[in-house]
Each structure stands twice: as structure tokens, then as C-alpha cells.
Symmetry: C2
């Protein structure tokens, strides 16, 4: 280094207990200002800011050098801590200042292209291009430090519970988790490809076969899917698997883990046990399998009440096998004008609803464009079912069930958001259990696994696997916090026979099943213990812990929506020589 | 689970303090034998073995069921712990046995294709094909558990020292670390490719630019190189970087880390401070920059003594600018017959030596095929330089320096190995410093970076960068233990100007440098702190800690020499549809 000084303290930790001490600090100049013959500099490092004063009386040399420093210069300062003249109660070091005796400029800086402050509203693309500057912002540093802390707590908790962290391969084989794989051409095996793992699912199950008993890993996973606000091509999973357990055991240990994380990272108490709901109940009450239960507006079903009404939109939906359901925006009726309701209708249409019927209950009676279709008895029945009282607004969707659930499920959240009822400081967790094993893929006209093909059916439903697959429930459980699916897992199939029946139910021929998963089917023959596990999305968990709504706020070097990195310009064109060695060509098109 | 039993203990932890207790165990049948009307089963889990006895008198039902269990069946057993009749002092549970009251068979097993015991000598390929069975072996489980423990100690140590673990991207851009990249075609950006990182070098430096101050990561890295016993396509690095430091600071913290790891993982004391040697000294004394210093046989130089001798092989080598050096196999002369020496000569030839000259000092005088070429004075000089006494064997190579060093450097180890002088229980660590910044690449006729292009030259050598690059020393340091390079690092360049001069010295045009590393050169303009770091190879470290000689013994699911996985059959052929989506084709050839 260009200095003989040795750092004694970090900037942000100094306080009045250090007054009188000689300290040596290293960091960045946040800003410099000249005032009354003195030079002031806010000096910054990872821990925070401290005010440095350059005073001719203390050191003429340091004062003169300080004339040349500007924003983002890297400096080393030695000096004495003094009580500050004008205390700044807004920062931890606000009671002190350091009078510089020695200043060593370690590096200069051009004017940075983005401001180093949290409220800088520059475009995200520019932030990503200059990510190394963006990461100087205290919010970003805090987020990354919290992420580090969270991972540490998880690792220590699981280690104490007897879990062993085992690294599984990144260069591996395609596994059908429902998403597209990233492929890696093999040079040594021309024409062949590795796949990057969508999860270590099969490896962790094989570790159970190997008797590892309890496995975990904080691990990168990869999905080549189109990106959304909470998705990245590579994401990080907290991945666990346990042998000799039922669902209760997995739930028990993992809710204690989540409790510990929230308590130790942000001092929030998640009450234990975390409440549970079945998939069926979640759908009926919230229209969605990852409900946000911080607010009400639960769904109610009026299908039976309107099935023979003269309002064809309602009766027709019921007749066609669908339903009519509503939510009661209880007590907030006067906050929604007709225009607002039209906006909500437009919102539900993005989820496939054809319209949004509504009933307002006011002091003057019921106001509703659809009132005229209903008899007094029908209307009273609907109001009673919806627990309607003066001041309420009832909103209805009539359609096939999937659309009713989807549109009302999301409408709940939208209404709560507009009413500002979503409390970011509140965390409500929920286990959702008893998922269906399959869901029907209309596009492919076949059943697909709701979770993945290794999930165990419930013992009592096993006999329905071939005959009524839609009725088979899975030994699966998701952890939902504030409407995010934070984790999901299941007890696994551990018999080669049942696994083969499962593949058959999913439409695999025996040959296909053995071709793709022969090693698993084979492994299951040699003494496989009952086992199950869970995986948490660390990125999503961090979004909750940091209250960020953009996943890129909790990742050091994320990709943009088109899966590229504006800083490094990855991905980029490869040399012809490289491609030739890999025996591949870029398609002409 | 097919049992209502709840596990109370792991098998291997039971001992005489548990006598009289009722326990419930779950695990595998190692072997069953019937003896004197009783059935004995060795039951196994991750922690070890325990003897189970099925006795009709205790439970007729359990006894009858036990008749059907065989090797690798998965069972749950409830019973009482008894003092064992015939104590087995070889296993921790040898003083007790469990009399089974309940037996639940949780899963059956076919006869496994490999034996579950450490001394099974089946081919490695079969072991990898049935890795889930191979990992049942106690050595493999112990190795993976030690690896977990090691990573935990590293993480906790570094966290306490203020390092923040930050995840860097796996899908990134080509970086020239001297090895071939694995490429990943981008679907969203047709014709473009990500590269898997050979190391997070640039990202960790950018984290220093961002003020993260102290970074670490235990992280997978990738090199598409031909494999050797200690290499894998994906390997794990303990990666660190620190700001505001000199080499001394990095060395200090990391030798304390290594000390802690060896102490806590295998109770071995690595004396601190770890001794240091310069690159120059290492080459002159050991012929290699990663010397094994557990044994002697150091090199000595006789070039000056033989430069005018009549032995043309010697004098010619010196004349051509090379050297003549030897090692003294002190005291072991009588252990090497002429045939043995010929074998050693063949060994040195694999490192390019043209021959191996030798002198034996016996009670009857000097024996040597080359004695006749030397005057008495010359011979006495050589013997004196080699500190030769009765019983010694001197071995010489005459060639250009690189060949002399390489062949004698390896010969030292080979001789020590043949003499059984390599003590596996002894660990000798060494820092090697003052590396040359460049080495000359004869094939490409240009200088290449000895470590990587971001390594800082020594300040006093900076002016030689353009004029005498071969004389420039680097602020680089390697940690060598028992002849393995366990870690390597350096203080980095942190000025855009010096970095550009470095790229120029390496033969990059300004355009190339900016094209490939523009983001780094740009970043260096905005206040980059002095910084440096190190990376340890976790796999190699684990080989040392577990005393394994094959890297596959410390990795759960490794690849074979041709970078494939016999268990999953990765890599494999990809669907045409997948390739089409990725805009690539397999070359016809």
C-alpha cells in the first residue's frame, strides 16, 4: 500500500467512547466541503460514515492535501477523536469527529457515473452496468451482509441438527423439473451435453440411499425460463433432505429453522407452530395456494344461491360446472368509486375473468348493476353468505373454477394493496399441505406432477394412482409467507415399484423411465430408507427479510430481464476455435 | 413411514452408559448370522455399527421376522441395551448389544453389486456407477463429514474475521485464467454464450471496488482441461479477498485459518508462523515451486566445478547456459542397485532429462561410471559440494535449467517415496513468495502471467515492466503443504494505468484489453482500494486432511477421467428441440 498507516477502526463504529483516542481509518470520501477555514469530509466504509476535519492548526500538510480530494477518493486518515461541536443524531457516529493529523491518498476517482446514495433514482440498467459503484450504497451493502448472516444462521442451525452439507454436481444430467435446462457442451464427449441442475433433487435422494441420513446444501440452481421480478436464471436454494422421517418431522425442524432466521436476522417472532391449511381450504378461502393472510377478504361461494337466477352470467357459469364466488371488501365500500371498480375489473381480466360483478351496501340500501336480476330472497341470501353490512363492497367472478380462483385470489391482494392494508413489517407464515399429486396439463392433455415426479402419494390414496389420479393427494407441504412460496417439499417415493407406477401415470413408457431415471429406479432396489425434504428459495427469503420487491436488490451481480449482465456484457460471442473444440456450431437463421 | 417407531438413538453412539435403556434404532443390516438359536445382525447407520440380537425368548415375532432380513435391508428395531457377552474392543459399541423387542422392515434390498466395506477392491468405475452404495462405506462417509466440518470451520473463522460471503455468478463471461472455459449457449441471446467461471477473480476484485472490504466464498469453479488424479472439471475453492492490505496481512490471516483447520479437523498443529521461502530459493533448493519439505535431498549446483571438465555432457550443458545439479541421497547409497538407478534415470527422463549421472561413496571408495572423466581435484570438489560421505549416493542432471529443476525436483520425491521416507502423518507447510510476474511461453513466443494478469508487480520492479519483464517479481504467495499447492494469491493491481501496462506486457492490444476487461479498467477509475486475496483448493485440502491420494475420494459425485458420470450417464445427447431453442447444432464430422 502507498501508506505506512495501519487501520485501527472501521469508520462507522466510532462513538463517544472513543473520544481522545488516536485512530486510523481507511475508506472513501463521500463528500468534501470547505467551511470557515476548515475542510470537512464524510468518510465512508462498509460500516458507515464518520466526519473528518482537516484543520491547518492540527496539520498544515494534511490540510493542504485535503484540498485535492474529491468524492470517491480512497483515503487513509490518522487523527484524534473529538466530541463533535454540532451533534448529528441521525448517524451512529454523530457525536464525534476526527481531526486529521495524517492524510494519505490511496487512490483518486473520476466523477462516478451514478451517485453513491440510496435514494439515487438512476435507471436500473445503469446501476447494473456500474454494479461495483451501486454496491457501495448502504442499502445494497446491508442486503448482502444480511444475506451472509442468514446463510450462516441456516448453516449453523442445520449443522447442529445433524445435517451434513454435501456438494452435488453442477455439470450433470437433464432432470425434468418442468423448466428448461441450461446445457453445457462436452469437449471430451463430442455431441453430448451436461445440464446445469434445476435442483439437486436426485442427488439428495441418492445421498439418503447412501445413508447420509441428513443432508443440506446452500446451492445454485438454474432454470432457463423467461424472467420476472422475482426470478433469475441462477438462483440459490437452501436444500434439505432427511431419512427415517414423516412430513411432521420435516415440518417441525424447518419451522424452527424459519423461526430462528427471522428472530436472529431481523428480530421478528414467527409464532410456532406455524398454522397449516390444506390445499383445498387455501383455494376455497383465498383462491390461491400461496395466500397472503395478512389481510382478510376471503372468498365465499354463492353458486348454490344463484344457480337458477335470471342473471345468465352467474347461472350459466354454475351450469357449465364452474362457480360464482365473491370477496367482501369489508368496511371499505366508500373507498371505491365506479371508476375504481372498473379498474379492478380490468385487473381481474388479466387473470382471465370476463367481468367483475359488484354489490355495494350503503345507508341508502344496496347499489349494484346486477341487483335487478335477483329476487329479494336471492339478494338477501347473497348478502348473508358474504356477511355483508353497511359500508361493504362485494365483488364477484363467475367462470370455471380455475379462473374464479385465480382472478379473485389475486384481486384480494390488489384490493389490500390499494387500501394500503399490506403491512410490510408484519410476517404471516402458513404451511399449505395435502396438495394434489397431479395437475392436468390442458395443452399436453395429460397429467403432470404438481410438485415433481418423486413426491410420495398419500398411503390411503395410493390405490387411486391408476384409476383416479386427480384424486390422489401428495405428501407435500409448502411454506408460504406473506403470499410468497418460500419453501416447498415432500416425503418422497422410496420404492422402485411405486416410482415406476408414478412414471407410468405421468405418461412415461417403461423404456423412457429407465432411460432417464434408471439410476434412481436401480438405487431404490438396494435398501432405500423412507425420506423427505424441503427446499427454500434463499433469494425470495432475502426479499422478505430485507423487504425488497425486486430480486436484484438481494443479489450482488444479477442478470437483467433478458438474462444478460450489463457490466461484463455476458453472454458474449464465442471464438470459432472454442466452438470447434466443443464440436458445435451456431445455427444460421 | 411403515413404522410407528420413533428413532431414539443413532447406532454408533450407544455404549455401556446406555445399558438397561430401551432404544429405537433405524438403519441398514450389514450382515446377519444365525448362531445357537439366536439371530445376530450388525446394524449400521452414519455413526457406526451396533449388534442386534433376535431372541425367541424376548420376542417370537421379531425373531420370526428377522429370519427374512438380509444384507442392506432397512430396518427399525426397538429393544433393550444389554452388556455384551463377548466384548468387541474394535468398535465403539463393542461393550453392548441390543435385544430386539420390535422389528419393522422398512425396505428390502436386492444383493448389492458392490460390497459395503472399505477394503472392497472393486473397480473405480463400478464404484462410481453405484456411487450411492459406495458412499455407504465408512471411509467415504467420514471423508464427506470431514469436508462438511472443514467448510464450517472456514466459514465461521472468516465470518468472525469480518469476511462477508457473497455469491458471484456461475453464468458469466470468459476470463482468461489460462485454461479452457466451459460454455453455456444462451437461448434468449442467440449465438451468444456464457462461460462458467474458472474463478470469481474479477467479481471479488469488483467487490473490493464496491467497498465490501472483506469477501469470501466457498464456490464451485470450472476448467475444461484434461483430468489428472487431483483434477476435476468442477472443483471447489475457498476464495478470499481483502481491502487495505499488504501481502503480510493476507498471509497472517490465512495461516491462522490453516492452523485452525488442521487443529480442529484432525488435531494436527501447524506451527505458526509458517516458514517462508522465495521462489528463487525454492527452485535452487528443491527444483520446484511447491516443494515437499518433509524430507531432504536438497539440490546443489556443481556447474562451476565441472564447466571445464572433460565430461562433455556436464561441461556442454554449462556452456549452453544450463547447469549441472545434483541431490545427495544421504545414507541410502546401499539401497540403490544399478538396476534401481536405471529405474530412477527412466523416471527423470519423463521430465525431459537426457540421463542421470551418479556417484556412490562406499567404504572401498567412489563408484561411478563418470569418475574417469574427472580429475581427483574435480571429484573432491563435487563430493565436497554435495556433502558426500560414505554410504551416500549422488545423482546428477545436466541440462538447461528448466529441465534440471523439473527432473531433480521430482526425483527428490520419487527417491523419498521409494525409501518410504514420506510420513503421511506429518504436515509441513511453506509459503513460497517473490514469484516472477511473468513466465515465458515458448510455444506462443510471448510472456504470460505466472499467476494471472491482475497480480501486482513489486513496487521496486514496476519500472522494469516494459524493459525487462523477466526480472519483475510479483506480490504473490503460494501456500504449499507436503508438496501440494494448497492455496495461492497475491496483492492485486488497483490502478487502471498499471493494469493497462500489464495487459500490454502480456501482448494485448489496447482494444483487446478494453474489449475483454473494459469493465475492470473502468472500475479502477472510481476509487479502487488497495486489495489482495487468496484462493485455496478445498478438494486438495481435503485430500491432505483425509490422507487420500485420489481426489474422487473427497467428492460425493465426481467425474471420471473423461469427464463423465457412470451413474447418471452425464453428459448425454440433447433433444433436437432443445438445441434448436438454443440456436446451436452439433458439428458433423
Amino acid at each position: 500500500m502507498k501508506t505506512k498507516l495501519k487501520r485501527s477502526h472501521m469508520c462507522g463504529v466510532l462513538n463517544s467512547s472513543n473520544i481522545g483516542e488516536e485512530v486510523t481509518l481507511m475508506g472513501w470520501v463521500q463528500k468534501r466541503r470547505d467551511l470557515g477555514g476548515l475542510i470537512f469530509a464524510d468518510m465512508r466504509d462498509r460500516t458507515g460514515f464518520v466526519q473528518i476535519i482537516f484543520d491547518k492548526e492540527v496539520s498544515m500538510e494534511a490540510f493542504n492535501q485535503a484540498n485535492d480530494i474529491g468524492a470517491e477518493y480512497v483515503i487513509a486518515v490518522k487523527g484524534k477523536v473529538h466530541k463533535r461541536q454540532s451533534v448529528n443524531p441521525n448517524i451512529p457516529t454523530g457525536e464525534i469527529e476526527v481531526f486529521a493529523e495524517i492524510l494519505d491518498v490511496l487512490n483518486t476517482s473520476d466523477t462516478p457515473p451514478i451517485y453513491i446514495k440510496d435514494d439515487d433514482d438512476v435507471s436500473e440498467n445503469l446501476r447494473l452496468k456500474y454494479r461495483y459503484l451501486d454496491l457501495r450504497k448502504s442499502t445494497m451493502q446491508k442486503n448482502l451482509i444480511l444475506r451472509h448472516k442468514t446463510a450462516g444462521i441456516v448453516r449453523n442451525f442445520l449443522s447442529e441438527e445433524g445435517f451434513i452439507e454435501v456438494e452435488t454436481p453442477v455439470l450433470t444430467k437433464t432432470t425434468p423439473e418442468g423448466a428448461r435446462d441450461y446445457l453445457v457442451p462436452s469437449r471430451v464427449n463430442p455431441g453430448k451435453f451436461y445440464a446445469l441442475p434445476q435442483s439437486p433433487q436426485l442427488f439428495k435422494q441418492l445421498l439418503m440411499v447412501s445413508g447420509m441420513d441428513r443432508y443440506f446444501q446452500i446451492v445454485k440452481c438454474f432454470r432457463d425460463e423467461d424472467l420476472r421480478a422475482d426470478r433469475q436464471p441462477e438462483f440459490t436454494q437452501i436444500d434439505c433432505e432427511m431419512s427415517f422421517v414423516d412430513a411432521e418431522d420435516v415440518i417441525d425442524i424447518n419451522q424452527r429453522l424459519v423461526h430462528k432466521v427471522f428472530k436472529e436476522v431481523i428480530n421478528v417472532e414467527i409464532p410456532l407452530p406455524i398454522p397449516r391449511t390444506t390445499y383445498k381450504e387455501a383455494m376455497e378461502r383465498y383462491g390461491i395456494d400461496k395466500p397472503d393472510i395478512r389481510f382478510g377478504f376471503e372468498l365465499f361461494d354463492v353458486s348454490d344461491l344463484v344457480s337458477s337466477s335470471s342473471f345468465k352470467v352467474f347461472s350459466g357459469a354454475v351450469e357449465a360446472g364452474g362457480s360464482v364466488r365473491g370477496i367482501n371488501v369489508k368496511g371499505y365500500g366508500d373507498q371505491f368509486s365506479r371508476k375504481d371498480i372498473t379498474a379492478l375489473e380490468d385487473y381481474t381480466k388479466t387473470y382471465g375473468a370476463k367481468g367483475l360483478a359488484w354489490i355495494k351496501v350503503t345507508a341508502e340500501g344496496v347499489i349494484s348493476p346486477i341487483a335487478k336480476f335477483f329476487s329479494e330472497e336471492e339478494m338477501q341470501g347473497i348478502l348473508k353468505r358474504g356477511d355483508a353490512a353497511e359500508g361493504d363492497l362485494l365483488l364477484f367472478v363467475a367462470d370455471k373454477n380455475s379462473v374464479v380462483y385465480d382472478s379473485l385470489g389475486h384481486l384480494r391482494g390488489e384490493v389490500a394493496k390499494r387500501l394500503n392494508l399490506v403491512n410490510k413489517d408484519e410476517y404471516k407464515a402458513l404451511w399449505v399441505t395435502d396438495f394434489p399429486l397431479f395437475e392436468y396439463d390442458e395443452e399436453d392433455d395429460r397429467y403432470v406432477a404438481k410438485h415433481h415426479p418423486f413426491t410420495s402419494p398419500m398411503d390411503e390414496d395410493l390405490e387411486l394412482l391408476e384409476t383416479e389420479p386427480e384424486k390422489v393427494r401428495a405428501k407435500a407441504y409448502d411454506l408460504v409467507i406473506n403470499g410468497y412460496e418460500v419453501g416447498g417439499g415432500s416425503i418422497r417415493i422410496y420404492s422402485s415399484d411405486v416410482q415406476q407406477r408414478m412414471f407410468k401415470a405421468l405418461g412415461f413408457s417403461e423404456e423412457e423411465a429407465w432411460d432417464k431415471f434408471g439410476f434412481l429406479l436401480e438405487a431404490f432396489k438396494y435398501g432405500t430408507p423412507p425420506h423427505g425434504g424441503i427446499a427454500f428459495g434463499l433469494d425470495r427469503l432475502m426479499m422478505l427479510l430485507t423487504k425488497e420487491e425486486n430480486i436484484r436488490q438481494v443479489i450482488a451481480f444479477p442478470k437483467t430481464q433478458n438474462a444478460s449482465c450489463p457490466m461484463t456484457n455476458a453472454p458474449s460471442v464465442a471464438d470459432e476455435k472454442q466452438l470447434k473444440e466443443l464440436s458445435i456450431e451456431v445455427s444460421k437463421s
